[in-house]
Symmetry: D4
Subunit: 233 residues, 8 copies
């Protein structure tokens, strides 16, 4: 099979094979998803990442008590409680920002994750909260902010209409995050997901249900390109 350029490295921990090459390929070390991992496993992976990379090291969806346990071994981390993100070596906010727009207060935790991850990987974050379409004037009153936005993350559950409305108002990239807010026919976020994929506003892209993380990483990919286009001269 064809040789692949570069020289990747893996930290074999037995219970995990940490991808130490990812920072080289994608400008960001591997990120640790906490659910299903033991605190000592998280601690071990974090150790490998802190040692084997130079950029920010993140653990997502981590409970406060687990975060505290891990921080006992690895000092210097900061824990974002609303977003449930634990991070080390957070860079200062770079030249690219995302604007996180939420439909309702129940969508808050997903927006919090998007914001926390975004900040931890060096993106600026602006928030426009509780502007669901049932009271359209709340959104229209903030159109100017939206038109200034570089990348917009729309977080909405129920019928997810906000994604279409926002995307119709701006030319910037719109990443839609369906949330599991709602009941019955909202089907734990599936309805919002399908609605966002079927948006009448062209060029909306969608990530998994409740994945504030996914939206932040999609934004990081955009920032990675924007940064390439505008070197931090």
């Amino acid at each position: 099979m064809a040789a692949v350029p570069g020289s990747p490295a893996t930290a074999e921990l037995g219970f995990a094979a940490v991808d130490l090459d990812r920072e080289h390929r994608q400008g960001l070390p591997e990120i640790v998803y906490a659910p299903g991992k033991q605190p000592h496993e998280i601690t071990g992976i974090v150790a490998a990442l802190l040692e084997g990379s130079r950029g920010p090291v993140l653990v997502t969806r981590v409970a406060a008590d687990v975060a505290e346990t891990v921080q006992r071994t690895h000092a210097g981390g900061t824990y974002d409680a609303p977003g449930r993100v634990l991070a080390w070596r957070v860079p200062p906010a770079g030249p690219v920002s995302i604007t996180v727009v939420t439909a309702g207060t129940s969508d808050g935790p997903v927006a919090d994750e998007a914001a926390a991850v975004a900040r931890a990987v060096g993106l600026g974050v602006t928030e426009v909260r509780d502007v669901g379409v049932a009271g359209l004037h709340r959104l229209l009153g903030r159109v100017d902010e939206l038109r200034e936005a570089e990348v917009i993350v729309v977080v909405a559950g129920m019928e997810g209409a906000l994604a279409s409305v926002v995307a119709g108002l701006v030319g910037a990239p719109v990443v839609a995050v369906p949330t599991s807010t709602g009941y019955g026919a909202a089907f734990e976020g599936v309805t919002a997901l399908l609605a966002m994929l079927s948006s009448c506003a062209a060029g909306v892209t969608v990530v998994n249900i409740d994945s504030g993380f996914g939206a932040a990483l999609a934004a990081h990919r955009l920032a990675y390109q924007l940064n390439r286009a505008v070197p931090a001269s």
Copy 2:
């Protein structure tokens, strides 16, 4: 079993048992759904209805050639081609009107059915077409008309966001009709259906996919009550 008040009548045609009591119960004779019925069956049922009732007689989803065949036996009917509705004894428009709002041009045939059925049962009809949320100013430019509306029928496919947006702008009854417009994740109207049922705007009601007929009849029920409230003095 308990006796039921009134004295219902049924026209037994062998292939059908026509409900001649419906006009008495609901203010409107039974309506004939053409698909799956032979032209001679439609002709026979129409004969029973014209004879056994006094109000409008309607055949829905009827093709032009079938309509023509039926009209040869039963003169005096009018055929609404866009809405595919054949009707006799259409009353003049009564005091109640519906406003049919569509998201896009592909939703037209469903709106046409809603409008044709509504007119044939004595409702006034106003139309606001192609005001989907991807170009929100088109809708906002017509808010005054919407706020004047007595009953609003919102016809939309894809993500069906228009229902939420319209219902957020007005206090009148909103009947949402999901359409099978769209592809892929629009799932033949299922996504719009679920989205409308999950609307963040309170008090939206929903009828079956592509059922302009259902929306018109729901409006007729509302008109039936409004008329009771305001007798045609």
Copy 3:
């Protein structure tokens, strides 16, 4: 973008942007959905609504202990325990009434929510309970009441057949509320939902699963129009 008539107001609380214009648009202030909100958040939003509007202020799906907490700050509210609705400034019952019909005793809590919300927004409420179609004479014995009804809300789970049967008996608007009653093939209310949407009785409209709230608000929209038609001279 086109200017929109009127001058909407929003109470920006940080965690929420309360729509103070809604009463003007829809004749009813924004209603607070309790799940997912902290007691202090509910208290804050209620404060904004009590101050910024004149009509009834409601919190739905609120547990008794949370209701008590909120009432400590905002005296004068009344808590409807079966319907889990907390309300202030409840108006006297207006000229429009709804008739809530349930199929079985398990559908009770959803009917309770419909009734409690309806009362809190000024609608009269009549109840016809436990008249499912397995013992049809129970329903037939109350046909006269149903035929007097102005707006009928049918609450049924399992196969949801009651909606079709009731709608076939009356000409008034019928809002069907599928409930999650049943097991197995009832699929948490989805079967009743689909059945109601596919009703052979024309003009039935449907709201989300278990949404007594949605049915009451749909009725409020109708009452809003009926009231416009018959001014409270």
Copy 4:
């Protein structure tokens, strides 16, 4: 492996292994389902059945022209066009009858299949057509007939409510056949299927969508037992 009593026979035709023991086990020879089989295959299987059994030989869902082709080789068959059933050696109607009840005219073809298969296997057949619940008096006017019925087959599409209503009125076995009548949320019969499985009327049993055949065979099983109980003395 344990020996099984009896001495089954199979006609190996290469393209098919005809079960010649079935008549012995179940009181009825194997029945041929036509779709997907070539006329010469049907002819061959019929030959094996006519020779290897003594009871009625049936081909179901067979088009008129194919039936004609097969009859050229095997004279003496009769073709029921509405039910699309071709049969030889049809017995006279035995002591057991089924009553086939349909909701609407579109459910006719499924009822026709049920009736044709039932007659061809020696059951009496009574029909009660077009008594859907939207005009309940049509059904109530025939309650006496239903209460006389030995086995009731309810054929209904859309929301399938008729099965619950009928089953609530009688104590006899009720076999429900959901049909693919309807559109949108009727999901090609799935909604009626789920509704019938979730019936609030106890003891309803259900067969596959559009399977008039299945209902007739279920009735045959009942008749087989009833006949055992009351020998044709």
Copy 5:
């Protein structure tokens, strides 16, 4: 509306409308489904049934402690713990029996409910347990028993193949009960349900997932007819 023969009675308890006519229509009083009802509600309904009917009075899916509470008011009941059925006035086993066949030990509770309900309504019960098709000789070793059976209830989860295999071996009525046994692609009984509905063995009928109750009641309907055919001379 047409008068319905007979003179039905309803016990209006406020929280429930007990159908006291059901025994007359169906040969069996209304049966009480315990989940979602308060002990005092069950006690009240049982009182109405014991007073207003003569046949067996049953409460299903009732926990042992609730059963005990209800029995304190209504002595003379018997509680079947495995089947979770509480019953009064259980008749002696009549001339009709059912044979309950299970695929595996996990299907036991559903079979227990079927057996307990069947016994409480006067049916004889035979059991053939743990004869799933993975060890086919277990079933084949009991074919004689199956061929003697009057009505067979097949209880199976996972892929539900047992229903097809049993139905292929006998001519008697087969009522299939899918169970929620299994995981992953078994989808809580949906796979067994669909498989049973699609059975290659003709004439199988199906009831809801985990509904031992439904199967017993379907058997009761058959027994009701068999008893009519063979009067208890």
Copy 6:
């Protein structure tokens, strides 16, 4: 309601309300989706767009004969047959390029649409075809190209694994387009859609099934921002 900045324009054609403000909001005029529109309607909308905007005017999913008809009225358009895109005023390729990667030859038409739309709105296009993961060396042999890419559009059906593999290799934005390639469990693209949404490679975004158009427009949004960041000095 709050005034919205700017002064949007709409061309009211009766059958359509063309959004002439979109170019101002999003840097691209409204795009015409041909299915469901009559040729004369397309011609009319194109007229409005050519007159009311300055940028490229596109019609997508348009058949060759319809394209020819429309071009008779509006000369100067070019028709991309593989992508089924008809366009006027196509700008020269700007500074931003997309790389369209396909898994197999059956994914070609969707990739063609993405490429044609992208070119017509001024994006450069590079193609990497038929590099599905069943023969991984084909993809690995082109890693250098992928790492040079500015925006990657991955077009894949069946299990859609290519999206994860590509996204794991690069840091650039990856827009995944599921296609309806495959059969059975591929469920017309739904499986690829869900798989892409569940990708283990972080930051992948997804558009609707078979929507090459959606991916191109998502890329246009990125380019719009990249162009803002790097003015075409």
Copy 7:
């Protein structure tokens, strides 16, 4: 990235990138799936495969006329009409055989594909047809053959019970192929698929709906290992 051993080759045809390394990796050249490919594309890919590999070259799901066209350029191929497989350089049957078992005659085409592909890649093929479980003795009469089988492919639609029954009788590998035979609740093969995945007989593996091809290739993988274990000394 880590170098991969070996030196893969790809034939770049523009419209396709033919994997010429596959024979080296898997003992079998790439196989061409005809649907969606033009005859000249198939001809081109076959040319590349005939030249770039030494083993059998196959085209599957190819219509007779397309096969004829391709054979005009590449003589020496043989076309299996029932299995719709076109093949060159078919090896003699090797030491490993598969036994293809079908439930009914409608499953024939899928079994034909499995057999044709298997033969074309050097496997022996035995067939046991039409032994569905509705007439179990047909299968039991052939248990000896099944117990001799090296790899069993069970092809069944509807409820797919045959897979469980066969797998319970033998210790050999069983690959189950669900087919789209059946209607209604059979859901185009989905029910059989889920049933096979939920089989109570341990160790059954499953391939895609109607994929006789997939089963044959799975068998080839096993033969590949068996051949490694028993060199063709």
Copy 8:
């Protein structure tokens, strides 16, 4: 019915009918699935198996405390905690090995079950952990091991892409196990399941979600044949 060769034995325990013939038919005694069984039931079944067979006796998905209870009666068993498997008479590893490959650490428990069952039935086990495709070099670095593997079990959740990638790299049998790892659109393993069934790499077979057990048994069937081919001379 045809006699079946052999003389099967069943241990009738009342609550279970233990298949003592299975070892003879399949080379492995029946395996006990613990969930839903009482400890004394497990103890009883194990007794029957230890006495009635000679091979390994296994209990799967058994909690540590239950295992301890059972071991008090039946000494000599060993409990594999990660795989939750309790076993007696574990044979030494035979000549056939499986290689268990996992995508991520969350897939560990399913891989543990596969490994524990495999070892307990006499298979060798090799593990390749945490080589998901998001860091492809981890997998590519171990291609040599994979190419040595006799049977590969791929355990992956989320989008399940690893199965396709691994199957594309090797010629050996690949059994794919979808896991319920992931959230939202991963749908508890359904997405991985469908993706694996739709794999673009030919010849992948699939077992139920999270069924490490199923994969190990499928491997046992392969080993059973490989052992037949290469007698343990």
